[in-house]
Amino acid sequence: MRGLMRILLKYHFGILFIVLEIISLTIYINDTENNKNIILNSSHAIVAGFYNASSHVFEYFNLRKINYQLNKENAELKGKLKSAYKDNEINILDIYDSVYTKKYYHISAKVINNSINKQHNYLTLNKGSKQGVEPEMAVVSPTGIVGIVKEVSNNYSSVISILNTKLNISAKIKRNNYFGSLTWDGNDYTRMLLKEIPNHVERHIGDTIVTSGFSTIFPGGKLIGIISDFSDENNGNFFNIIIELSTDFKNLTYVYIIGNYDKTEQLDLEERTIND
């Protein structure tokens, strides 16, 4: 026993180093493999508070571009208003139409922290569970998809950016509905890869890529970007498409968080089907 104590004392530096290194590597590998991160994330009130304060300053630098974007989006939405259409109806009756029920709801939020130069990029938003944000909700900007909510605290939420090598998103070519999985190679923040598209599919540079809507997270048809190149390193019958993102992640400021009313219903159904 005395001998053991003496060894521990003599080599305490090395032993402590190994213990601390194993702890931190375990936390890191666990997080990378399982994508579960309960204690350490930037949705914590104190951490998010610092980001919130600093975003008040940096926000001003992007105002011109944001105004332009909002203006453009307003114009687009105004075009969809009832007043923008000519009324050809003779009988005006307000009917509750059960053919259309509302499926998605939108919460607007401000990006208070964002990065593009890591391998695993995250955003922090200034809305949390008190404002109705839940994990696994979709985040989109006026110009395209942004990410998926990972954790929420009372007033803040942290979001996995699509610029994260851990994330895969189901996407399709708008022209012919062939779908594949969208990933990021960690290199260029304006480009992503669409994988697993069969070889025979017709594709052209400039084709629009949108979300497939298969998951319960992203609504279908949300803009992602356009095809900028194909890569020929095909493994068998598939090839990769290089996509130019329509969202500029460098000056992202205002985004929408999209919730799905039918999420639990769809997930329950899918789970029952798999279990049978």
Partner: protein, 168 residues
């Protein structure tokens, strides 16, 4: 003595906030990812016991990790270099050793000494960090170029900070 503790705690807070709120907002290219918070480890007094050095490095890493949503990543890299610090300090020691009452700073031991000290530890830190972040060696050229560019900028900022803030 208390003054040294207070000064180090203050430096800890300032460096962590400066790293996550200012340096992490430099997003020009994925190749450029300077990590300057290791300056805290570099500037700890010579007499800091080994166990304290490791624990402080662990806490420093976790603090940055919480901000950047990367649990364990900065922590492993920071603990990893703090184990090298005593050896690096010993191997680049001046002929007469380190005098009592001095700190590992440019003001005491000159540009050459401080530059070598910073370069070795910052380079190890960046290399370990980028390999771990990429989770493998698959894209080695990318890792190496990120390491070289980022450590160059980090070393520049760290050495510069010694001229700006610690002129005594």
């Amino acid at each position: 003595m208390i003054k040294i503790y207070l000064r180090n705690i203050l430096r800890f807070v300032i460096l962590v906030l400066f790293q996550v709120l200012v340096i992490n907002n430099i997003q020009i290219t994925p190749l450029l990812n300077p990590l300057i918070y290791t300056l805290f480890i570099l500037l700890l007094p010579f007499e800091t016991p080994g166990w304290l050095l490791l624990i402080v490095a662990f806490v420093l890493g976790i603090s940055v990790d919480i901000f950047t949503n990367t649990p364990g990543l900065h922590t492993s890299a920071t603990v990893f270099i703090s184990v090298f610090r005593p050896f690096v300090l010993r191997s680049i020691a001046p002929r007469d050793g380190y005098e009592a009452g001095t700190f590992p700073r440019l003001a005491f031991y000159g540009f050459n000494w401080f530059f070598r000290y910073t370069l070795i530890l910052v380079f190890i830190h960046h290399l370990f960090f980028f390999i771990l972040e990429a989770f493998g060696f698959s894209n080695f050229l990318f890792i190496i170029s990120r390491t070289l560019l980022s450590s160059f900028v980090s070393v520049f900022l760290i050495v510069l900070s010694q001229y700006i803030i610690y002129r005594d």
